[in-house]
Symmetry: C2
Subunit: 500 residues, 2 copies
């Protein structure tokens, strides 16, 4: 088998790989290879081929061999040759039409439904393009060379410093850059904390020391075993199914804590080693954790040598004057505080952070590996610049006003068109829960889907093992539509709500 590399880049714009193998002489092999390149789409219609002599020199074959191969392909219609225009790929040559199309299982819809009132996404039309580009430009142009080498798994120091200042100022988080580890978002944080597979450490071997499938079967303390934390993990009875599935895949048993008007019943915490909470704004039901429970859960963690995992997913978005700060500020040694830019800027950036008690820092870094394998260094530097220059504050403030007005508008529309449907939870965040008459949730969600309105019912978020009384409700994400689309989405929503 003879294989060759065409370096006649000045003619076809770049390298082209040709395999001069198979039966027959070199002329036959070259003819076949070029034909395949055209038929397979590797040489696009209109592409100018290199002159005989360049290609011959590159391939180390006679000039005539190339000339003959070209002539044959011109004869077959794959190439065209015109005086002064050289030899080109014929325009009618068809590109590859493989059998493989979009796979059957395609859960993702890039365009989305007609009216998108699902949770979890900010207004994609509001991304601050100019300010972000300015930060990216500075981040790139001013980067030291080492920024383009392997990355520190803790994340860029400049980002950790910016986050330390920002989180202290805005969320009351008390920390230090050495306690922050950058990640790709909350899901990545869960994998790093609980996943045997997030960790590629230890001396290798053949899968010993996992044991994650046996609840409670791991070693004690944060240092042993393959996971930073071990189950069972208490979670709120309503929460993201995605998180529960991710934990289940990591072999972590989750124990649901009922919710009442003061938030999660942390008084029911027992022998669990960790609890996952959304203290600022319970997701999805929408209330803050009561002040006494905030203190109580910290007391529990201290007494049990346990840890509170704080998902501060929308902590910046409070629309009244009395938000609660991060629970992390109450005891930085008992709380792992996790945040991201997914709600504040965009989930497309894939940037988040973990603020860790000192004792977990080494284990989380070990779980990340010796080098940064996830978060782009340039994006990290850009976010640092974006925060330090005040662009992040400005954007959050602008979005706070926008989402507040959307929430107000939702409430106003309901007051007119469906006064019996109550908006629950505090004025905060990117979503609201509408209480529905008992037994009407499923039919309402289905009616909404039928009318092109995508949203979820409360049932979607319910832990399968909770014994809380079922209550019917819709979780309305009011952030996702653009400003222009929001009115129509609200109209459509009001049109499907059950009658009194």
């Amino acid at each position: 088998m003879v294989e060759s590399w065409v370096n006649s880049a000045e003619r076809i714009g770049a390298d082209l790989h040709l395999e001069l193998s198979g039966p027959g002489g070199r002329r036959a092999a070259l003819t076949r290879a070029l034909r395949e390149a055209v038929r397979g789409g590797r040489l696009a219609p209109g592409t100018r081929l290199p002159p005989y002599r360049s290609l011959a020199a590159d391939l180390g074959i006679a000039r005539n061999t190339v000339a003959d191969a070209y002539a044959e392909l011109v004869a077959e219609g794959w190439l065209t040759a015109r005086q002064g225009a050289g030899t080109r790929v014929a325009e009618r040559a068809e590109p590859l039409r493989p059998n493989a199309r979009v796979p059957k299982k395609a859960p993702f819809r890039a365009r989305g439904p007609r009216h998108d009132l699902r949770t979890g996404t900010p207004d994609a039309s509001a991304f601050p393009r100019s300010a972000w580009l300015a930060s990216y430009r500075r981040a790139l142009q001013q980067a030291p060379h080492e920024a383009f080498g392997p990355g520190d798994p803790a994340g860029r120091l400049e980002l950790r410093e910016a986050l330390t200042e920002y989180l202290a100022r805005v969320r009351g988080v008390r920390t230090h850059p050495a306690r922050i580890v950058v990640c790709s978002g909350f899901g990545h944080a869960l994998r790093l904390l609980f996943g045997p597979n997030g960790a590629a450490r230890g001396a290798g071997g053949t899968g010993d020391g996992r044991g994650g499938g046996r609840p409670g079967g791991r070693g004690t303390g944060g240092g042993g075993g393959n996971a930073v934390l071990r189950g069972p993990l208490a979670v709120e009875a309503y929460g993201l199914g995605f998180h529960r599935e991710l934990l289940a895949a990591a072999g972590v048993r989750t124990v649901p804590l009922p919710l009442d008007e003061h938030g999660a019943r942390v008084d029911l915490l027992g022998r669990e080693r960790a609890v996952l909470l959304t203290p600022a704004h319970q997701f999805p039901t929408g209330g803050p954790l009561h002040a006494e429970r905030r203190t109580a859960v910290i007391d529990w963690a201290r007494a049990r040598d346990a840890v509170v995992l704080e998902d501060d997913y929308d902590g910046e978005f409070r629309y009244d004057r009395k938000p609660v700060g991060a629970i992390q500020g109450l005891d930085p040694e008992r709380v792992i505080h996790v945040g991201s830019v997914s709600k504040s800027l965009s989930p497309a950036l894939r940037l988040g952070w973990m603020v860790l008690p000192e004792r977990y820092v080494g284990d989380v870094l070990a779980a990340k590996g010796e080098r940064e394998a996830w978060a782009s260094v340039l994006d990290q530097r850009s976010l640092a610049d974006f925060i330090v220059r005040g662009s992040y504050d400005r954007h959050v403030r602008r979005m706070r006003q926008r989402y507040r007005s959307r929430r107000d508008r939702l409430a106003a529309e309901l007051a007119v068109h469906a006064p019996h449907v109550e908006v629950t939870g505090v004025a905060a965040g990117l979503h609201a829960v509408l209480r529905l008459p008992p037994g009407t949730e499923r039919a309402t969600v289905e009616a909404a889907a039928w009318r092109g309105v995508a949203l979820d019912g409360l049932a979607e978020f319910r832990h399968p093992a909770t014994d809380m009384a079922v209550s019917d409700g819709l979780v309305v994400g009011y952030a996702a539509p653009s400003e222009a689309a929001y009115g129509a989405a609200l109209d459509a929503l009001c049109g499907v709500l059950p009658a009194e």
Copy 2:
């Protein structure tokens, strides 16, 4: 507990979170809260505080209360007040000095050793900043709004289209955008293929159905169980320890294949279900897989219903005229081809791709989750633009010339200063292997470290279970130093090589 939010952003630049809790009246609480904010560094020295009336309005307290609190803190020295300059944080106020410093376990060294001849990193000083910024600008400015929403886990279509064309043209890969899945690099690809934890699918539950710790204990076929592929996995007897550890953490048993002058002994493949190879340029020993073995491993995969995992880590970097194309081109239904920009552009970008046989696409997408959780959408769009505009080709060509001259220079220096030390492997890639006299490897690596030269011996890459004869050698990564630093690194290297 009273908690408040200071929105006087026009004065202190952004939001500041104050907790007006604890004993005493509001004046005492505010004084304490501001003092803590200064002491803890949340209010930086020189920061101008909001006027009494703004802060009073924001907190819903009397103006005099704020004035009194300010006066007290001025008296204590935390704040300064000057006519016309307002009230500011005193310059001598000390920021937080936490006990927590850089954790003890810190495997990462951002600055690196004096002479860095480790493998795995391109020349960080050669990142094409201007061309990349131009692509990023276009990618950002021309992005449709939906690009800032949740991402398609397959990756952006524009990137998959660009990769399809590029990989066909340069690496002989035959594929289609619907068969490509974007990832963060080779490690991420391994996790997606083998990790029970890369997958967050199924109906939730409590950790059932893992079984990854029992070799061969998974379900048959690609669709069942938690992993896309199952072990045992054949690997080359010399390879990246990082990959072996990652697989071990996922419970995958690896079986070493000996290497000879024709590459991996694929004739020894048996009942394994998959084999991981570096066919273009064996890592680290440096030879290509022989043409007959390329065919043989495909025949094996067909006969056994197995799959070849092709790590095409430096496939673009061949310096002679006869490189080998990707083995994927021989049978797209039997080879998973994985590449990334880590060697060609920078490991700081965290972008890679998997080219999949059709039957694995659905499972890999399911393992990635419903939304893109890893690769930044803007970076994906930038890389697509960078490829389509020819910037990627231009950069690779420039780096090929640079690395080729470095390899030549290494060989020339050795010919003069250590003629008994042989450079093995083909002229390709970002590293070379120097054969050493038996028994001298460890001492040489230690002597190098002593002289500030960081490099690895072959032992570092050896599979612990292989019975191949040990041969001593140094793996010299000649890409990492800047052009300016390379000469000194070579001098230092020659100074530590063993005598004949």
